[in-house]
């Protein structure tokens, strides 16, 4: 079946909107998570690396309109897309348990790249985001090097968010209609065997 790659580019704005709306929705429902990269992961999983990377970049550019500092964290969102596309090609998001485990990878990226960016932004010392609630007591209690504390803090704060994000993405990918999946570059991966047999 011929793949309509143009459709992948038309999905990019939807991915960006999902990043924003999920963030708004968790605020409306007062849930203690961000879910601000679900759109990036979904688009990367269905359309491949580049559309996913663009979703990440555009989301951060649009966020920068009200808070220019978020532009610095664009590489983070783009790295999520690269990992999501890679895992999608390996079929990780087809099964629940591997999907759940993949959250460790996303949290690791969030922890390491996030810590590197925060570290550089705040003059090679602790950042002053919400992670400082974890980082400062960790530093005081363990006496580990500051940078290691920053990485561990960001990783722990990110882990819960990423577990919920990948679970949400898993169910969304499962709910996509076959008719739509068949037109997307990586959509075949998510078409069930029954649907494929029916087509043949």
């Amino acid at each position: 079946m011929k793949k309509d790659n143009k459709l992948a580019w038309f999905l990019v704005p939807i991915g960006v909107a999902v990043n924003f709306i999920f963030g708004t929705l968790v605020l409306m429902l007062r849930l203690p998570i961000y879910l601000d990269c679900a759109g990036t992961i979904i688009v990367a999983a269905l359309c491949g690396t580049w559309p996913g990377v663009i979703v990440g970049l555009v989301s951060n550019i649009l966020n920068a309109i009200t808070d220019p500092g978020t532009l610095l964290y664009a590489p983070l969102n783009m790295a999520f897309a690269v990992l999501a596309a890679y895992l999608s090609k390996k079929g990780v998001f087809k099964k629940f348990v591997p999907t759940l485990i993949s959250s460790l990878g996303f949290a690791f990226i969030g922890g390491v790249i996030g810590a590197l960016i925060t570290w550089a932004r705040f003059g090679f010392d602790f950042g002053s985001g919400t992670t400082s609630v974890v980082v400062l007591p960790l530093y005081a209690a363990t006496g580990l090097p500051k940078f290691i504390c920053q990485i561990i803090g960001e990783f722990l704060c990110d882990l819960l968010d990423k577990v919920i994000t990948v679970v949400v993405c898993y169910f969304i990918l499962k709910a996509f209609p076959t008719r739509f999946l068949s037109k997307l570059p990586l959509g075949d991966i998510y078409i069930s065997d029954e649907a494929k047999a029916l087509e043949e």
Binding site: A17, V18, L25, M28, R121, D125, S128, G129, V168
Partner: protein, 268 residues
């Protein structure tokens, strides 16, 4: 046909005042260079002076209320948290006692370090905030397209902005509809979590079905055509004065880098 109406699309975009009417790319160059000087210098005296300058500029441009509200919102938590975090993270025995806050001794060196960091972040953010608040995204993308960037980039950027607005409206509608159907959106965290999925489904599926229709509609309007495109907006060409302003801003940035290098090597 009304000629005045037709000609209104051939005139240069007029946004009201001289700053607004600058070409988006020269405006970006000026704001970015000025903002980066704060990153290079990293002194609170300079950073906070820039913040004051931005406020005066916002007042003159006519965006002060919007600018100050946004600037205050992104700076206030950053300001206090950084100062507090630095008091915890920087600890040396020879630090100079500074003030005592309800029995908690603050030291001067971490305080100054925090001010330097906050001031450079605010110095850089302020410039970009002025840029974004005085430039429409469609003008930025048009200026980029004039420089050879593909029209797909413009579509992605502008459509993303519109999608966010549309999807937010549809999220609110669906949230209200699900509430009306009896789904609990208030209560403990598990109840609110359960409400999350029935809202997500309809939002996403309606957006996805719209995508395919949009793709067909755009193709019917020659979106994929490789030839030249026409525009409903015409940007003013970059004037000599704008080039001079850009050059001045770049010079400021170079001067700040030179100053930093000299001060780091101990010459100054």
């Amino acid at each position: 046909m009304d000629k005045e109406f037709i000609n209104s699309y051939n005139d240069y975009v007029d946004n009201g005042n001289a700053w607004f009417n600058l070409n988006p790319l020269s405006k970006l160059c000026i704001c970015l260079c000025i903002g980066l000087t704060a990153v290079v210098v990293r002194r609170w005296q300079y950073g906070f002076s820039l913040c004051l300058l931005y406020c005066i500029a916002a007042l003159l441009i006519g965006i002060f209320p919007r600018f100050i509200k946004n600037y205050f919102a992104i700076s206030i938590i950053l300001f206090f948290l950084t100062i507090i975090v630095r008091q915890f993270s920087m600890k040396e025995p020879d630090f100079t006692p500074f003030i005592n806050v309800f029995g908690w001794q603050w030291y001067k060196e971490p305080f100054i370090a925090a001010l330097n960091i906050v001031s450079y972040i605010m110095g850089c953010s302020g410039a970009l905030l002025i840029f974004f608040q005085t430039t429409e995204m469609r003008d930025i993308m048009l200026a980029l397209e004039n420089r050879g960037v593909t029209h797909v980039a413009s579509y992605i950027m502008l459509s993303s902005m519109q999608s966010v607005i549309d999807m937010r409206k549809s999220a609110e509608t669906i949230l209200e509809s699900q509430k009306a159907r009896g789904i609990e959106t208030d209560g403990n965290i598990m109840v609110r979590m359960k409400a999350f999925f029935p809202i997500l489904g309809p939002i996403l599926l309606s957006a996805m079905s719209g995508t395919e229709e949009k793709a067909i509609a755009m193709d019917a309007r020659a979106f994929s055509h490789e030839g030249g495109h026409t525009y409903l907006r015409v940007l003013r060409p970059i004037s000599k004065v704008e080039y001079a302003l850009d050059a001045l801003a770049i010079l400021c940035l170079i001067a700040s880098i030179v100053w930093k290098v000299l001060s780091l090597t101990g010459v100054l």
